[in-house]
Symmetry: none
Subunit: 202 residues, 4 copies
């Protein structure tokens, strides 16, 4: 009306945000991605649907955000041996796969990510990237130590390292028992050592 300076409006209220996040995580764990309903989240959080859509443009981005929230990136590789580094990284990944809210959702996410570049990129940035760079570090250090051949196929190494754990937990839906990580770490170390293309220079 007058020449008053604009003072800025309201921000999203943190208590509401966290109420939604909490409710969504509970619904997600209970129903899975496909059966998760925004109405149910709103109801459980005691919140209007609009409050959710003001923060996340869709079910997908909401769930995408929950992951970053719960996810703890793997620590740096610091052991003195390849097997030690592998064991550390796999421990971190196994913890991720076993997070109660996430274990039942990993497969849902892999499924949805196929059709949502947005979600796909989100997961890549949050989860995929950090793990990939740890694997690369770990391989480089092992090559430096002479534990792995310099000609190792780095792309294949990315597929070999964590896939057995994923298969056990997500695809076969079994649990990891004590000692399994030792076993897998040893096997992956041996596998990596063999991961050189026949035609590659030694």
């Amino acid at each position: 009306v007058t020449g008053r300076a604009p003072t800025g409006g309201a921000l999203h209220r943190p208590r509401v945000t966290s109420a939604i996040r909490e409710a969504a995580l509970e619904e997600l764990a209970a129903q899975g991605y496909a059966r998760l309903s925004m109405d149910a989240v709103a109801r459980r959080a005691g919140v209007g649907k609009a409050a959710i859509y003001r923060r996340w443009s869709s079910k997908l981005t909401l769930v995408g955000d929950l992951i970053s929230d719960v996810f703890v990136p793997p620590g740096a590789t610091v052991a003195e041996t390849l097997v030690g580094d592998l064991h550390g990284l796999m421990t971190s990944f196994a913890a991720l796969l076993s997070t109660p809210q996430l274990s039942s959702v990993m497969a849902d996410l892999a499924s949805e990510a196929q059709r949502s570049p947005e979600l796909s990129q989100r997961i890549e940035e949050t989860v995929g990237g950090p793990y990939r760079s740890r694997i690369t570090d770990l391989v480089d250090r092992a090559i430096g130590r002479g534990e792995l051949p310099p000609g190792l196929d780095r792309e294949a190494a990315l597929d070999l390292t964590l896939s057995s754990l994923y298969w056990r937990v997500v695809v076969r839906r079994l649990t990891l028992k004590p000692g399994d990580l030792d076993l897998f770490a040893a096997a992956v170390a041996a596998g990596l050592a063999a991961l050189t293309r026949a035609d590659a220079p030694t």
Copy 2:
């Protein structure tokens, strides 16, 4: 009007059944499981929706059935070496992952199977079982030949053998290049050889 005896009704007409199967596969490949709509399948098949539900109790069981339909079980392991057997089995699995209608649906199925014991069992019977028994065969033969230690952890072997391919294709959504199978077969063979628990008898 006459005293004619009731003669019983018709059976499901085969042409209708196969029209539905065809249409469903096309929709599945194009839309994925989540976005596949039964109305669309019926429309594409030129069929009433009731005709579908007369044959399958839900979207899930329909799709579950399509897999058995398309799926070709892996042949017996016949090579003279562990690497040879592995290469054969992985070739078969890679073909499965690359079936145009299935590649984009694998993750959807893994996701849905979590919450549907019916679907889960179906996949287990059709896909999981055959592959598992091939892996067991292959390991046994290799142990017999002395290529693998007798104390090898068979459960872990099931996780190690095909998971790298799955990770590459389904999780990372990349393609397999020529030579990759050789690489993975060699690595998995080396990994299997290391798959013995420290406390197990040699």
Copy 3:
């Protein structure tokens, strides 16, 4: 699938249609147009919302239809005098204004019709037209009998004839008492007789 002849699909089920109509009339009378909610109609009728929208494209067309439904067109003018004809027509209009379900909705409709050509036309066809042609008949017959001057302004006659009743019932929200129709009929007859433009031929 085959060359089977198309047999045509399902039609709207009459019981559902009438359940909706009934529920809508009740809601309309209770809440008025603006506060009438499609969800409430569906709930009261024991019907899915889609069943409503399959029949009517909007709240507006639904309500528009209810009017035609309830409305009974005025009978032909058959009395031997102008006052007699007027009394007959006004009786019919008074009955319309007093229909329990409609009395409280007339104003709503006048309001909505302003912004909806569709509804406007609907009301015109169903209600306005019939009344207008009765007024024209009535005026013509009175002119024939010598009760009204030939130069009478027909357009103004349309405004004069029923407006007092509308004003009493809809605008002032009062009721008609016995004898009121006699009074208004006499006054309108006298008014019509005076409805000649100064510059018109006698």
Copy 4:
């Protein structure tokens, strides 16, 4: 800190009040009552929604207020003849009906007033009352002059006098042409003269 008495804060700022009024009138004319959105008014006025609700308790009371604002009450009846007085009053009413911001809102208000005693009373006080007392004056003066019978039904006179104009403009949504007021004034004068109950004393 000190025992100082509270001193009170600011009052509603006049510039804000008038900015809202202006914006609301524009929105009202453009959208009508039903489609008028408080958010839009606030936006157009460059004002927070709270500033509106601090002054008016609802959309309805805001709009009710706008009418008093725009409305100019009819002048006293001063002509020497019934037709002259009628013509004066009808001219004023015709002007009201043709006020650009109001013409399209009259029907909306009649509709809303049904369900809002608050709005109903507001309109009665501002518009209905003044017009009703002018009509009563006018009738009394005409009876005094001998132009109308003393036994005239005053209640019916209120319905007869202005209803034709309302019908033409609001119900039929047509415009008044020059000469129409002369025509209606003459007809209403004749009608009023006939507005005596048969059983009433002369």
